[in-house]
Amino acid sequence: MPIADWFKARDERRYTPVSGSNIKADVPEGVWSKCDACKRTIYEGDLDEAGRVCPHCGHHFPLTAAQRIELLVDEGSFAEFDAGLTSLDPLEFSAVKPYAASLERAQANTGMNEAILTGRAMLGGHEVVISAMDFRFVGASMGSAVGEKITRALEVALAENRAAIIVTASGGARMQEGILSLMQMAKTSAAVARLADAGLPYVSILTNPTMGGVTASFAVLADVVLAEPGARIGFAGPRIIEQTIRQKLPKGFQSAESMLDHGMLDDVVPRAELAGRLSLVLDYLMSTPEGGDGS
């Protein structure tokens, strides 16, 4: 479990990720990957050991939802719920390729039923509900199932006095579910508002990319909003903006670093420090007797 060791070493965490999971990328041994940012090649084994952060330039490679959760929660504490919840095709959407087929392929490729994992866990000794999105699954777009799973996760947090943690990555709303998908923005935002009323903490971690209807709903409504370095974060996609304003976008536009400068994020936190930061933030926001205290 190289990635886990790496995190333990860098962070001196008192908890360790689950071992033996699918933490490694889906590539055979001995394969080399090319870094999107610095274009250098990296041995896959080295990349895993570095937590899938480029050892040359610090570029953060994508993680699966399972990897995300493993990296953040106390060892062995994650218990998924709503695992079977799956999207349907209420619009019978079949422009270009049938939505039903896209879903099936995504399920086969990821071994997931939908673009998000949700469940109970411990994080730094705090009781949490954690959710993580998986960009491989139809771009982690939010349809009825993703919206429902997020809403349920927030409702479990509310019912059980847990903190909510959501790791986002999404192209936005899932257009193949039309207006039902748009309305998940309203549904999830309403659920966040209820959790906030109850004084329970919610921390989001925005990873590359977090766009459209996901940014414009639950993702940015957290008490503390963190982001990974280099993540693209925004509402409109860069292509649409370029078409509208008829000019090239400035360098770094919609990057986590730029959004931090523009006051939109609490901080940009390198992957290696995320679990530690989350745990510390929860120490502050969950200091009530029920919430437990990680110290």
């Binding site: 799956t86 999207s87 349907l88 809403t151 899932r174 207006i179 039902l180 549904k187």
Partner: protein, 321 residues
């Protein structure tokens, strides 16, 4: 009936009508063959008009929703409401003219009106960014929402936008943040919220002031997660194929009613609301008042709970194993 602006789907009909006008300018009494032809053309026009307007395609409805003569929020404010007091500004950055907020009286109800505001001409449209708000606009709307909440005034919201503005400054000032905060705020407002889709219902920019207790859609208004052009551009790499996807997206008033998203549809005159705006105004006013009356019967806690249940129920999925 103004014909200044011809929508794509009306073009065959308009061409025949122009032929008929031309034929009629000839001396028909001298030419019985021509009289027959005119008569045939007239019935063909009747048939085509019937076909065109009685079975409007989703794409045709999108065009009607975008028709420049279609009544806009300022027309509804002038026709339905009295004692209108416009409120400006977000107290933070600007006064986005793409959003109007006002205190206004509808019949015996004092309410807060929100709306996307398009221009009635090009100059106005430029000032109002064609009805596409920046974050300032949503934050201005949030101010009005809080005022409504504080003083117990129902909210009536008119939806008519292609969507939130996609631009550098809009992104940098937190377009997504403004929309999200607006949604959270509306979800807990302790007053009735009635939304009326009067034209375009473009994605998050429409929803940001559209979340509510009751949604009334005009027959030719639409509400969609994405514009048909953007959808076509993603699917076909060709935005001109918007007509093909407009149906797939299930974005018409009829679709919304079927999907349980809207509560009622206001029928429009043949050809669209701009053909008889007064009739539409009168019907919309009646429907809004009925909805507000019905919602006002609930106390605030019930109202907020009911709204949550309503949102909570949206979505089609399977529990699985």
């Amino acid at each position: 009936m103004s014909r200044k602006y011809v929508m794509e789907f009306e073009r065959p009909l308009v061409e025949l009508e122009e032929q008929l006008v031309a034929l009629r300018r000839l001396n028909l009494t001298d030419n019985p063959d021509l009289m027959v032809e005119v008569s045939a053309l007239a019935s063909e026009i009747d048939r085509l008009r019937h076909e065109t307007y009685e079975h409007l395609t989703p794409w045709a409805r999108v065009q009607i929703a975008r028709h420049p003569d279609r009544p806009k929020v300022q027309d509804y404010l002038a026709a339905l409401f009295t004692d209108v007091v416009e409120l400006h500004g977000d107290r933070l950055h600007g006064d986005d003219e793409a959003i109007v907020t006002a205190l206004a009286t509808l019949g015996n109800r004092r309410v807060v009106v929100l709306g996307h505001r398009k221009g009635s001409n090009t100059k106005e449209n430029i000032k109002r960014n064609f009805g596409s708000p920046h974050p300032d606009g949503f934050r201005k709307a949030m101010r009005a929402m809080r005022l409504a909440d504080k003083f117990g005034l129902p909210v009536v919201s008119f939806l008519d936008t292609k969507g939130a503005h996609p631009g550098i400054d809009a992104e940098e000032r937190g377009q997504a943040w403004a929309i999200a905060e607006s949604l959270a705020l509306l979800s807990e407002l302790r007053v009735p919220i009635v939304a009326v889709g009067i034209g375009e219902g473009g994605s998050g920019g429409a929803l940001a002031i559209g979340l509510g207790d009751h949604l009334i859609m005009l027959e030719n208004s639409y509400y969609s997660v994405i514009s048909p052009e953007a959808c076509a551009s993603i699917l076909y790499k060709d935005s001109t194929r918007a007509a093909d996807v407009a149906g797939s997206l299930k974005m018409t008033a009829a679709d919304l009613l079927r999907l349980g998203i809207s509560d009622e549809t206001v029928p429009e005159p043949i050809g669209g609301a701009h053909h008889d705006a007064e009739a539409v105004f009168s019907e919309v006013k009646k429907r809004i008042l009925a909805a507000v009356d019905s919602l006002a019967a609930h106390d605030a806690d019930e109202l907020v709970e009911k709204r949550y249940r309503r949102l909570r129920a949206i979505g089609v999925f399977e529990e699985g194993a």
